[in-house]
Symmetry: C2
Subunit: 467 residues, 2 copies
């Protein structure tokens, strides 16, 4: 009896869905989408070009502009109804010459260690900065220590990412405020610089950069901030226990320039039934200025492009207008996402759904949704269609930075949810390169996205159902 009750769900949900829809038609279409992605997939070769031929793509860099040109050209080859650029002013931060850092023991020996300036950080004084170092975990430790123990020192934030969380993004969320605001907070106590343990579970030699901000700190109070690799952080911490008066030296020549012109890249297939209702699928074209921006977020861009490629090659004529948007400047400003929203408002374009892929090109497990409860529950009824592809993790949650500005009542936002275990091994580091991306995992992610976009196109949303 227990068993009978247990099996009710599958029977019922299928029956109900089948009664009200053409379940088989959708099921066949998802199979075709997956076959297209796995047999004729373009995403992997696009990614190879974007990462190995163009390389990293920080906003305002030559790489970013090459990526705009390249992806626009590739979208034009697909025979979409429209491909265009959206002008957007973006911040331009320059890393300068390669950073240099060492630990100086109490007896004067030096041990070189790997660092990377945090994105947005100011430079050290000319010739570098050498000072005593004080280790803390988080901001509350600054208050405990007080100005007396911090002034004139370099603050070393050494909070490891929590290993217990199953989803690594949760652990990242527990530490990212330190990278973002660590310099601002330490400066308030008179610190002269900040060294932040890299945000990764991996114990290795790669420093991981990422955006930081001085917030409302006056410019003359800015202090330089850099990430140290996790192995470097472990060594520094061990040495500090033995030699609390050791010194840390680092030199970086990073600086902000005035904003420069860049672009979002947009391509669209016009809807046959609801041309004025828009469905967006996207990723961000910019990356940090180290490695190749392969998982973050070259993968998301080529997957979003692949969704439209699949529809074209399947001769699928969508009911709604479907847009791929490659956003510029997710990493340090979200100017592309904000600009896109500005244009949506200006043109009064009605957006019903947006899906972003910005969690790496790993094996997809499903989606997280930012939506009304009713919309989520409606989408949940499609789960059994997605299960054969093992992409039936459907949970309320985070969607994406770039589509975030589109949020309003009635719109459904979603994020592709790949397996998250390896993401922070490569995130914002030299190691985020093409060879870390598995072809099939990337392709399956694109197929998952195309499947969800197809279902939304067929059924619409609560506020905008397909009649």
């Amino acid at each position: 009896m227990r068993i009978f009750i247990y099996f009710l769900p599958l029977i019922f949900s299928t029956v109900v869905y089948a009664q009200t829809t053409t379940y088989e038609r959708d099921s066949v279409m998802l199979r075709k989408i997956h076959d297209q992605a796995l047999v004729n997939g373009k995403s992997y070769s696009w990614l190879e070009h974007l990462t190995t031929q163009i390389g990293n793509r920080l906003s305002g860099s030559a790489g970013a502009e090459k990526a705009v040109v390249y992806t626009k050209e590739e979208l034009e080859k697909l025979g979409l109804d429209k491909v265009f650029l959206q002008e957007v002013m973006v911040p331009k931060w320059i890393r300068g010459i390669k950073e240099y850092a060492y630990i100086e023991t109490e007896s004067g020996n030096t041990i070189v260690t790997n660092i990377l300036a945090l994105g947005g950080s100011t430079s050290t004084p000319v010739g570098g900065l050498k000072a005593g170092i004080v280790e803390v975990q988080d901001f509350e430790d600054l208050e405990k220590l007080g100005r007396e123990k911090i002034e004139g020192k370099i603050v070393f934030y050494n909070k490891p990412m929590e290993p217990r969380h199953i989803q690594t993004f949760t652990a990242y969320g527990g530490c990212s405020h330190i990278r973002y605001s660590g310099a601002k907070e330490a400066a308030k106590y008179g610190a002269v610089g900040v060294i932040v343990r890299s945000l990764t579970h991996s114990l290795d030699d790669y420093p991981h950069t990422g955006v930081m901000s001085y917030g409302d700190l006056p410019m003359d109070k800015y202090i330089p901030a850099a990430a140290i690799s996790t192995k470097g952080a472990e060594m520094l911490s061990s040495m500090l226990k033995l030699q609390p008066k050791l010194k840390f030296y680092f030199n970086q020549t990073s600086y902000m320039m005035p904003d420069v012109l860049s672009h979002n890249v947009v391509g669209e297939i016009k809807g046959s039934q609801y041309p004025d209702q828009y469905i967006v699928v996207g990723g961000h074209l910019d990356s940090w200025d180290v490695g190749q921006g392969a998982h973050d977020d070259g993968a998301g861009c080529v997957q979003a492009m692949e969704v439209l490629r699949i529809f074209k090659d399947l001769n699928y004529q969508p009911k709604h207008t479907i847009r791929v948007v490659l956003f510029m400047n997710e990493e340090n400003g979200t100017k592309g996402g904000l600009k896109y929203k500005e244009e949506v408002d200006r043109k009064k374009e009605n957006h019903i759904f947006a899906l972003e892929s910005d969690a790496g090109g790993f094996s997809p497990r499903g989606f997280s949704f930012t939506s009304s409860k009713e919309d989520f529950e409606r989408i949940e009824q499609w789960k059994s269609l997605f299960k054969p592809y093992l992409i039936h993790y459907f949970e309320p949650g985070w969607s994406g930075v770039d589509i975030g500005p589109l949020k309003k009542d009635g719109i459904v936002l979603a994020g592709l949810h790949p397996d998250s275990q390896r993401y922070f091994d490569y995130h914002h580091a030299e190691s985020d390169t093409f060879d870390k991306v598995n072809k099939r995992e990337l392709e399956l992610g694109a197929a998952a996205m195309a499947s969800m976009i197809y279902m939304i196109d067929q059924w619409g949303t609560i506020q905008h159902p397909v009649e």
Copy 2:
């Protein structure tokens, strides 16, 4: 209303389970198991030693024997109730000197290509074998071609693994008979050698070896068989279209030796309530003789060891006797699995459950079960407990080669089901090395296994329920 019906399952299954069990206790235990694996995990450092210090471990090799000694010592450190070796005679196949192969064009130019002798293959004639080559996909093509077109030639099996299957093991299953029996079948038509396209979706330069058999062919009819990399296969196939009379040369000096003595490694914690009922968790200690046998199956061994380590460190006293078994000779004989079963029968040990990890140390997604329908449906009721760890893929299916001989009415066999996309990139190739294993993915697999073993220990099976 549809939504209400849709949500019935979750409500019901939880209620029923909660009514009949202490759901919260089990839930807390699964959390503790995961914390242990992720915070104090030993599996990754064991694997590092097994792969980088010992290396590959073909049955009968020095590496295999070192692995027996090492894992026995490590199990002894855990303070188990018993650790012992089981003697087992295993085949000993020797690869000999490094293979050498080239394509010779019709005009006499040569292009060197990568091959690996298949495990169990005989050598080429002294000085190597050069012959014309005929390309086929599968055995039915041999019949179509007939003896006339095959006699005196090398048969080149060039059947790619099907990319459409979501689970890569399904695609492997569609091709592995060619590697296993390709030489035997081709020899019937007078072929002088066999070259088999490597069993991987990846397009790269690594040949992938694996077991083959001559079946009932008389020994004087044996012909040498080797795997060619997928890139090599593509090149050879292209060239054959242009130059059907090109020749292929290969030299290999592989041969079989008489069987030698080796061992299964067994460790156990005595059960408090049902000491005579056994639960087994295992992997296989042998590997192929290339790479480091990291995913296949160093990962499975250290995960199985980790299950008992976790129970010891949590001071968990199992109700049943829980055994870790590291099987010898999965790759080319299953002698370890057969020997274990022989001992079980001889000692009349009652086995109620066995779980094997032999699908790589990738992010776990759940389990497949070989069991009665009733046992499967009972276990399915635990799904919601496993969902927070994203390991709730529970499906009937394959369990494992080594535990296969234990199969009989009433016993439940299970296989850990990790994400399968990358497995065949490394399978039986030089590239199956420690650096391909992600620490957290490996640890989460061990935690998934410990969770399932715990649940079986708490609840038993249909034939052997815990009272």
